[in-house]
Structure formats: C-alpha cells, structure tokens
Amino acid sequence: MYRILKAEMLADKIYLMDVEAPRIAKACQPGEFVIVKMDDRGERIPLTICDYNRDKGTITIVFQTVGASTEKMADLKTGDSFEDVVGPLGNASEFVTEDLEEVKKRKYLFVAGGVGTAPVYPQVKWMKEHGISVDVIMGSKTKDLLILEDAMREQAGNLYVTTDDGSYERKGMVTEVIKDLVVNQGKQYDVCVAIGPMIMMKFTCLMTKELGIPTVVSLNPVMVDGTGMCGACRITVGDEVKFACVDGPEFDGHKVNFDEAMKRQMMYKSEEGRAILKSREGDTHHGGCGMCGGDN
C-alpha cells in the first residue's frame, strides 16, 4: 500500500497528492512517470511525476479527472492509500543524462499547457538546481484553471502566463507568446520543451518549426502495463513506430504524427469516440472513455 500524505484540489477537476513510494522517490528523474491503481479492481492509470522528495521517500502526482476511475481517485483523502504505485517509468528528459556543460550553453524555453504544468515543473526545478535560468510560458483556459503558478515562479527565470479568455495576465494561446518572445522581443532559444494537451503541443510544434527551434514534447497515450509489454501506447515518430512507455515519453515534436496520435486519443476524448467505445466495449465499458462516468 502507498499512503497519501497530502491531498488537495488545485483547480476545478485538478488534484495534487503526495504519496509514499520510497523506491520511486529515490530513483525518479524529471521526464519520467508512474502508474497508479486505486484498489484491487481499479484500472492502471499513467500519471506524470510533478515533484519528489528523496529524503522523505515521497512523490507528488497531479491529475485531472477524465472518467469514472480518476473521479473515484479524486475522492481519496490524506491518510488513504493507493493499492499500487509503480515506477519510475519511461526515460528521463534528455538534458538529465547529457553533459551538464553542454546543457548550460543552451537557452531553454519551457511551454506548459493546462495540467501539463505538472510534468514541466520538475524539469524547470532541475534546471534551477543546476544553475540554469530558463524561460517558462504557462497557459490555461482561464485564471481559475491555472495551477502551480507560485511554485513555478520560484523556479523559473522569466515566467509568462497567458489565459485563453484573458481573465489573467496575457490573453491568448501559448503559441502567440512564443511568437511575441522570439519575433518581437528578439529572444533566442536553442531548445523548446512543450507539454500539455495534444492540440497545444501540435500547434506549438508548428510554430517552433517555423521559428527553427528544436522542440521536445511529452506524450501520455493510453497504456496498460507501462513497461513495453502491451504496445497500446504506440505512436509514429518520423517513419518509425515507437512505444511511448519505453522509447519516450519525450520525443522530437517536429517528427511526431500528432494527427494519428489525436485520432487514437479521440476515441477517449470526443462524444462520438465515446459512443463508439461504448458500443464496442459493451458490458466492459466502465467510463474509461472519459466523462460519461460509465454505467456503474
């Protein structure tokens, strides 16, 4: 059992938990993820690691409720436990294993969209711990949905916040901020790391390609075991089929086939996709599709 030491709601449908998982806390690196399972009948749910405390043996997870399983998870309180937490899974971000002097020579831009702020945070924190000041753009739909702003401000060099509806700081998409920084303010970046909703990563990549900035994205597709065994998380990068769990989750964003990845994700995220799933999954349809809540 993996005890929850802290559980709080960050925004509507977005939750943060500190969980006891000593092996993972000792081994994990920015870029990696975990799989959690609530109880003996639950699903295995992949989640990003937002933070970790090696001394206390805890990891911090952040998740958004998207279906019956994550909604049930949101009800967990401090003192409750997960039956299973496994990880770290996937590969650490490239800069973690590269020569630090090389990394220090580069200018990094991090772009975080929505709940994607959670996996961006430990990367930015790692940068600060290694004496590297980075620019961070955080985008969300509205002010109320913005998460981890103060925490990010502490770690980032410059932080630019934008909301789709203009309810806080800048108004508009993250792509507009990227363009503003590069074209109007004359900033130069060697690497962009963009993590957020698939559509945001797609358009960020279109923008950075135009601006000639190599871009890394982190993908979080459907998966079962997370160790390479099931192949559910396959995506096309360039001409190759890759498994997000063992080859990723970070990939060259300019080579990812986002349209295919979105089609695969749409079966869980769109009304139509959910209806198709419901008919195909029959009695086993428990709301893993997203918001319908399942039949139970």
Binding site: I24, C230, R264, R280, H286
Partner: protein, 462 residues
C-alpha cells in the same frame, strides 16, 4: 476399456464454454486417473522422461497413481517440478513426454499431462503443502520476474536454504501465467495463485511493483541491498507488429494488450474497472498459442473470430489441443492468408483488412515450407477489430541499465544453458529473456538451471 486409447477427459461442451471464461477441460477424477495410469507399461528405459525438459520421473509417479498413492505421486513430481498444476495444463505434451511414449506407436500415448494435472489438483484440494527448510543459510538472492522461470528458480533456491526475494514489475505475481494465459485454460484463483502461494510457503518473498532497471538496478541490488546473486527471468518483452499501413488505427491491438486487459485486469468481468474492445468481427493474425488464446478470448466476449495465418494448418505452432478446442468453439481459420493493409474509416477505426493468398514454397531456415504470395490474389476481410499476435522482441530495460551484461544480435541476454551464467559476475538468467518467446516448461527448465548455477557459485565462495 480400449487400451490403445486414452481415457477420455471430461470437458465443458463447446457451445456452452464459448460463452464463458470457466476452465474448458475438467480433468480426470481418481477413478479415471487410475484407469489411465494402468495404460503405462512402465518402460525400463522410459523415453517420456527424456522428452520432459525437467526430467520428471514419469513412470514413477504414474505407478503411484495406478496404486492410488496420490500423495506419493505428488512427491515424485515435486522433486522435478514446482508448478505441476500449471504444466499439466499448458505444456506441449504432444511434442515432449507424450510424443515419446511407446503407447503412441500403435495407439494413443498415455495421457501424461492430464495425469500430472490430476495429481497436482488432488494435492491442492487435500491441502498438501511443500515444506520450508528449517533454517536459511543467510545468503540473499534476488530473482527478477515471477513468471515460470523466476518462480522455479526461487523455489529451488529456497529449498536449498537461500533467502530469496522476487521482484515483479506488475501488481500481481505470476508473469505470463497471470497476464498471458487465459482463465479458461489456466484458472487464476484456483490454480495459479495456489502454486505461487506454495513458492511463498518455501520462504520466498515477492515484492510487486518493482521494475528492475527503473525502480532499482541490478548493480544496486548487488552493491547496496545485500543480494549476493541475481537471477533474471524477466520474460519476453515488446510485442511485434507487421509494419503494414493502418496498423495504428483504433481497433488494432497487440495480443499482449488484449490478453493483459482480459487476464490481468479482468476486463471480461463487469465488476472490474478496465475496459476491453470486444468487436463484432475480429481477426487474430498469427498461429501460436498466444493467437489461440486471444482468439478464444474475443470469441467469449461475443465476437465472430478469424485466425489469419500465412502458412497451412500443419505449420500452426500452437499446441494441438488449443487448435482443436478453438475449432470446436467455432473459431474460423483463414489459412495461407497474410494481411497487407488495415483499412480504416474516416474516424480512424478499423473497417476491414486487406489480405493476400499464400502458397507454400521451399523449406526455409526453420525447416517449414516458406509461404509465398499468390500474385493478384488480394481480397478484403470484413472485420472491425484486429489483434496482432506475431511474437515479441526483448525488453531493453534490464540490458540497458546493467553494466557488463552481454546481449546477442537478437538483443536477448546471453546465458549458459546448463547454469544460466551471464557475462556479469553473480548474475544468472533464463527463460524468454534469454531464448526469446518459448514455452512455460522451457522457462522452468532454465529457472532450475539458474538455481543450480547460483548455488554452485555461492557455495564456491564460502
């Protein structure tokens, strides 16, 4: 009684079992088992034993069955096998013990597998448990993976007095016995869990949710956690796909995913949270045991199922009994057929599968006749779900994170066959991680060899 024929084994009616996940074969009762045992002619030089990868004293245990000493029969088997209830169910007996049986020359061989299963089930039902050694020798061994090779290696070492901890990546132990082989062939609560519990009763600890290579490395186990030797039984690995257009469409699954959802996550039961796409018309591509398992799972979830295989029936690599059962249940075999493209609708879902007819040419490296495409014979099978069952390639998690562990061209770990010794001191390996995808019994044989190798290594260090 016709002495040339096996005593028939009771099975669920094909029509009934096609709609449930209960075990297909019901096994012998004591009377039937003793009658079947009487068919064994107790060869002086028993060929069946040579056909068994773990060399069970087959005439020995059969003799005890015939005389009604089932507990004694269990002891004979236990000397060689830690998982008899599993092996009696999933070993390819026709190409091993039963394939060598003298009775098989004129009639049917003795039903060795069903007798082994009977003995194992009887012992479980009568509460016979293996005895743990009175005290340990204080030496710690780590076993990676709780599948057939890991369980066997751990069990053998525990009997010798070692303190063994198994590290399992998934949340349930058992490896392929748990996530891969379906309930209707190998019941989990009834058969697999009790066999794992027997290994625990020998003193073996099992820590789940530990991915060696990620959660902890082999070097850390050896240098920081006090283990003096490690056995790698991490299993096969990543599912292979064909590389044809449309393969990433919604509705295309690996057999691994399909079976893991159903077996490990219990998606076939509506009181579990994990879903599974049942499909109305399902094509399973491949002809091995895993393909049969996936096909029969899809059938039980309500689909019309086609097994699409590029060679002919004679080359099907699956166990004869599985093919026979699949046919009885109504699986359709599209043989000498190979997919060339998966067709999709505008939403990215499977709408059909374009195939080409094949014919058999000259024998290839495997000794089987090579399938060759018949030009211009393309046609479309109307399916909404495709399950790829084409084998696996090794998982790189351990080899990438362990200093000094050599792998071969196929990226399998290199290990000596008789001892499991690898290129790294104190590290032994066996099972699918070494051989590529094979059978439960061969993995058990390798686990046994690894235990021998580790015992020799650690004994020599005293």
């Amino acid at each position: 009684m016709d002495v040339l024929k096996k005593v028939p084994v009771r099975e669920q009616d094909p029509k009934v079992r096609a709609t449930n996940f209960e075990e297909v074969c019901l096994g012998y009762n004591e009377e039937e088992a003793r009658e079947e045992a009487s068919r064994c002619i107790q060869c002086k030089n028993p060929k069946c034993v040579k056909g068994c990868p773990v060399s069970i004293n087959i005439p020995g245990f059969i003799k005890e069955v015939e005389q009604g000493n089932i507990e004694e029969a269990a002891k004979v088997i236990a000397k060689s096998s830690a998982l008899p209830a599993v092996c009696g169910r999933v070993c390819p007996q026709e190409s091993q013990c039963e394939g060598q049986c003298i009775r098989g020359i004129k009639g049917e061989p003795v039903s060795i597998g069903k007798l082994e299963r009977f003995v194992a089930d009887w012992s479980r039902e009568h509460g016979i448990v293996p005895e743990a050694p009175e005290k340990t020798n204080g030496k710690k061994v780590a076993v990676i993976g709780s599948g057939p090779s890991g369980l066997t290696c751990a069990g053998d070492l525990a009997k010798l007095g070692y303190e063994v901890t198994i590290f399992e990546a998934l949340h349930e132990p058992g490896g392929v016995l748990t996530y891969g082989i379906p309930e209707f062939r190998l019941p989990k609560e009834g058969v697999v869990q009790p066999e794992i519990d027997n290994v625990r009763k020998l003193g073996v600890k099992i820590e789940t949710n530990v991915i060696v290579g990620k959660s902890v490395t082999i070097d850390e186990l050896l240098d920081e956690e006090g283990f003096q030797a490690v056995f790698i039984g991490s299993g096969a690995g990543l599912p292979m796909f064909m590389g044809i257009p449309g393969e990433n469409a919604n509705g295309v699954f690996s057999a691994n995913e399909y079976l893991t959802r159903s077996n490990l996550m219990k998606a076939f039961r509506d009181d579990y949270d994990t879903p599974i796409v049942a499909g109305k018309k399902v094509a399973v591509v491949g002809g091995g045991n895993v393909a049969m398992d996936a096909a029969r799972t899809a059938l039980r979830l309500g689909a019309e199922v086609h097994v699409v295989y590029r060679r002919s029936e004679a080359e099907l690599p699956a166990r004869a009994e599985e093919v026979h059962h699949a046919k009885e249940e109504g699986i359709i075999f599209d043989l000498l057929t190979n997919p060339v493209e998966i067709l999709t609708d505008e939403k990215g879902w499977v709408s059909g599968m374009k195939c080409i007819r094949m014919e058999l040419g000259e024998p290839d490296a495997s000794g089987r006749r090579r399938p060759v495409e018949v030009k211009g014979s393309e046609f479309v099978i109307d399916v909404d779900t495709v399950i790829m069952s084409l084998g696996t390639s090794p998982n790189p998690l351990i080899s990438n994170t362990t200093r000094g562990l050599d792998i071969n061209k196929r990226r399998c770990i290199i290990a000596e066959e008789t001892t499991g010794k690898t290129s790294k001191e104190g590290v032994y390996a066996g099972g699918d991680a070494v051989t590529g995808a094979a059978t439960v019994i061969l993995a058990m044989e390798a686990g046994r060899a690894g235990a021998r190798g580790i015992d020799e290594y650690l004994s020599a260090r005293d």
